[in-house]
Point group: C2
Chain length 122, copies 2
């Protein structure tokens, strides 16, 4: 760290912060929590286990998945009901693309935030 | 508008959205509502009239002003108590700079959001 960086860090305690999401035809399509839910469905193989891992009600998780599926060009999550173990759910190829779409937007925003904060002087 | 723009607008109903604020030593320093409050104080010449114009309690407006004043290098709002009309408040030069600081950050974010949305394809 140069002397200059150290000085400016000391004299500028101000930083930009924010959050971003992606809107679709009905309003919010992909936000941070929705995308974590998609990732947990991929990890756990079911909507209920994914919801449980986030301390989210099954009903709420189901509503979020339905909202995302309705707004996407193709379903992001496919669920199989019944059978031994009570069915399960998995991310489709469109689901994987949705995760990347949001993560890329998030990363781009974070880069903007960092750059802007670096030059923020009161 | 070219044929291509029209096509891509039709096929991409997805847009980035977000909100930004500026953190200071104690956490939130300047956000959208706080900066509107500063602008209303400038307009109305008192914290109570500014609060009323935003359907905000005087107590809440006062707390926000105190939070901003504490975190800024110099007070953003100076209030005069008592006297005929119950005193008043005005924006200092630092207050004007704070408004510009936030508005510039907001505008920069909106430019980023618009550019990013333009290239957003699912």
């Amino acid at each position: 760290m140069s002397e200059n960086d150290r000085d400016s860090r000391k004299t500028s305690p101000y930083r930009l912060h924010g959050r971003v999401w992606i809107d679709g035809p009905e309003g919010t399509f992909l936000g941070y929590g929705r995308v974590v839910l998609l990732e947990r469905i991929r990890e756990h193989g079911s909507i209920s286990a994914a919801a449980r891992s986030m301390n989210m009600s099954y009903r709420h998780a189901w509503d979020l998945v339905e909202s995302m599926n309705r707004q996407a060009p193709a379903p992001l999550v496919i669920s199989r009901t019944g059978g031994r173990g009570g069915g399960g759910a998995s991310l489709t190829e469109a689901g994987e693309r949705a995760v990347r779409l949001f993560r890329n937007a998030w990363d781009a925003y974070k880069t903007f935030e960092k750059e802007y904060s670096r030059n923020l002087r009161f």
